[in-house]
Symmetry: C2
Subunit: 451 residues, 2 copies
């Protein structure tokens, strides 16, 4: 009596990525109350700069109290449900997007659609750009949630563009052609390429070469490009970030038909660390997409209370600029710490300059070069060692042995505890030093209920 | 290059219902600044009790400042994106739902799914209950937005259950059978009945007989019932409101298979007057639906900031109870005022006991008994008289000449201005008294751009 999508597993939430979260929820680490619990390193959350936001809120009470010039605008906000969004927020978001992209491209508030997080933004774009059964090409490794967000309710298919460690998982022309061919072989009409820049899980920004390849592909195949740039505010090191919008502008493609097939997704969840506030957005050069996506945003509008607060925070441009800089400094320092520790344990990371995570190479710890061996070691790390990191397989990585390890969602104390556990684990796997069970006394059968 | 649904008119927003809003936006009435502008009577907004909410906010600053026991919980809320929602809000919503239903049924927070408004809730239920091309039967007249919410992205079809003024637009067994037969004739599989109780636009609650007919139909045809009860907090007069959930409980159907085919939608947009905050919900007896809808709520989560505020407001149960009572008193008074005025102009209204609108009978003012004549008079009222009321045709009413007139979204002053205009208009139509152009001097061609 129910729809198939409500009863089958097409929501893709049975991936090890989400299962790791569930295990964590059952036994979360706490330094005082549950020191042997699981440490969450599977959540791309940014907790490093809340002091800055809290200080701002203390100085700007009107914004949080829904007051303007000392007067309550509660009624006005409570009633505001225009799907075009608060003009003040859209103006500031456009300015913020420009700023994060080095002011190389000017963003126009009229081309912006507000959505309840980027989850909704990505789905809306799929509804606008493709019919059920049509496909988007997505470079691997990619965020496991895309299997839900892009496919579940839209009926759109994802065809992977396989990327490999041999060239640091960079996109190549031949990989794109292969993916296109694979789609043809499956009788799937390709409607576009969907990229994540900066990449989740790689923690890297795309090179000019990669962007060139993607744009050239979209030109030659007459397809769309969606660029999910939710991590654009987390770039903390060179090379600087180049948005897809800059790439097409640099090539003077404003008058080419590809211009209206370029769509950007962003949000305030990663840079500002506000996933609970659900502020996502679509930026599109295509008027019909903007118009249709705005109507679709009815299914996930942002609370006007939250729109008002963020319009005020972003409107303090001096604060925002300082925040982005300080956030970058702290992320860089945090990454350097973890990379250097892991290096000391003989574990390498892909070189990265963005994001809230490292892409960690544990291939040498696998018993075999298979995804079964990757799952085996992941289960050990989750259940015995007590760390929820995310296996590369859940990101559709083409090679076993890579893991995404988040570093910005925890205190320094928890990070140290995590590193001690990894150190002991590595020693145990390579047969040297203490048994990890001495560090993490929980018995596997007690900790973990994954079959 | 775009999906069909992004380029055609399947979003249904070209209905006169939405066109009236657009006209209003171009020339909105303001007593001081634009006294000849259009008065908005097409918006089911509740502005009658903001003083109560404002007073509560003044007394409870912690709730609006994201503080708990004097401490800021900004960080905790900013990070909270669990699609299960804040337990404190769900607990209070369940208690509030029970209260509005006379505590006849106990609502369980575990069966509740939070959504970004009822717009999202209704769409999610369609995604869960029906495949594209399957149908729901919907009694007429019904809210024009359902053509977008239930159909647009889901591919679900609506088949009308035609109701008529002869029995005050009540649902009958034969009307349901006819609709079922009409669906069969169209080769549409019927998956359920979708009702709005209290009704928008009728402003009435369903009778026990109607609910009996609907439940019996769902039992005999083995189909779902979705009951949109977003107006449950606006019942201001007898008979008391009976929720679908009470109806099936009264019949001791908890162990019948129909129990798990009963789903309720609600929101805080109409009773508390908070459409901008986007707090909607699904309540379902079906575990699979609850689980799947919760996952789908990822596409429209409620801002945690707003969840926290409302958990606090509803958590003050004494306040909430008084609010509901006072809101009822004010709505009743407002309705009595407008009904009595209209009666004085020779215009009748369907007897009603709920909602933020009257269902107004202007059949005697039509030049012919057709929907063309209804549109003609609607255009006059909108463009010449300067009132945005909503024509029954946009609600798929089966008979021309009915209009929905909202009364709770305006000041008393604006209401008086609107009534003066109606009075003049009626006089002009029946050829007696002053010309409405004396009251509303705007030239039609200047005011209105609808073709």
């Amino acid at each position: 009596m129910l729809a198939k999508k409500a009863t089958d597993n097409s929501h893709s939430q049975e991936s090890s990525y989400f299962m790791g979260w569930q295990e964590y929820e059952k036994n979360p680490y706490d330094a005082m109350d549950n020191p042997s619990g699981i440490i969450q390193m599977g959540l791309a959350e940014n907790q490093l700069c809340f002091d800055l936001l809290e200080q701002w809120l203390t100085r700007n009470k009107d914004a949080i109290q829904m007051r303007k010039d000392g007067e309550s605008i509660f009624k006005e906000l409570a009633l505001f449900q225009d799907y075009n969004g608060l003009p003040s927020l859209k103006k500031e978001l456009a300015a913020y997007m420009s700023k994060l992209r080095g002011d190389k491209v000017k963003f126009d508030p009229k081309k912006l659609v507000l959505t309840a997080g980027s989850t909704s933004a990505n789905e809306i774009l799929m509804f606008c750009l493709a019919e059920p059964g049509e496909a988007f090409l997505v470079p691997t490794p990619y965020y496991p949630g895309f299997d839900r967000d892009l496919k579940w309710r839209t009926g759109v298919e994802i065809v992977p563009i396989h990327c490999y460690s041999s060239n640091s998982f960079r996109i190549t022309e031949s990989a794109m052609e292969e993916a296109y061919q694979a789609a043809q072989n499956l009788n799937l009409k390709v409607k576009g390429v969907f990229i994540t820049n900066p990449s989740n899980p790689l923690g890297t920004t795309m090179t000019a070469d990669e962007l060139d390849i993607i744009v050239a592909f979209a030109v030659s195949k007459t397809v769309h490009i969606v660029s999910d740039e939710v991590y654009s505010g987390t770039v903390f090191d060179s090379p600087t970030f180049t948005s897809l919008m800059s790439a097409v502008t640099d090539k003077n493609l404003e008058n080419h038909s590809v211009w209206s097939r370029v769509h950007i997704v962003s949000s305030l969840s990663k840079d500002l660390g506000l996933p609970g506030f659900r502020i996502g957005m679509i930026y599109s050069n295509n008027e019909t997409v903007v118009s249709s996506a705005t109507k679709m945003s009815s299914f996930g509008l942002v609370s006007s209370q939250t729109q008002f607060l963020l319009a005020n925070i972003l409107g303090d441009r001096e604060f925002t600029e300082n925040y982005v800089e300080e956030n970058g400094r702290r992320l860089k320092k945090r990454r350097e710490t973890i990379v250097s520790w892991l290096d000391g344990f003989g574990i390498g990371c892909l070189e990265g300059n963005a994001g809230l995570f490292c892409w960690v190479d544990m291939r040498h710890l696998l018993s075999f070069n298979t995804f079964e061996a990757e799952m085996e070691i992941w289960m050990k790390i989750l259940c015995d060692v007590g760390l929820n990191v995310s296996p590369g397989g859940s990101f559709h990585c083409s090679e076993p042995g890579w893991f995404r390890v988040c570093f910005a969602n925890m205190s320094e104390e928890a990070l140290v505890a995590a590193m001690r556990r990894i150190k002991a684990f590595v020693s145990s796997v390579v047969g040297v030093g203490e048994d990890c069970r001495n560090i993490h006394p929980g018995k596997r059968s007690l900790v973990c209920t994954i079959d």
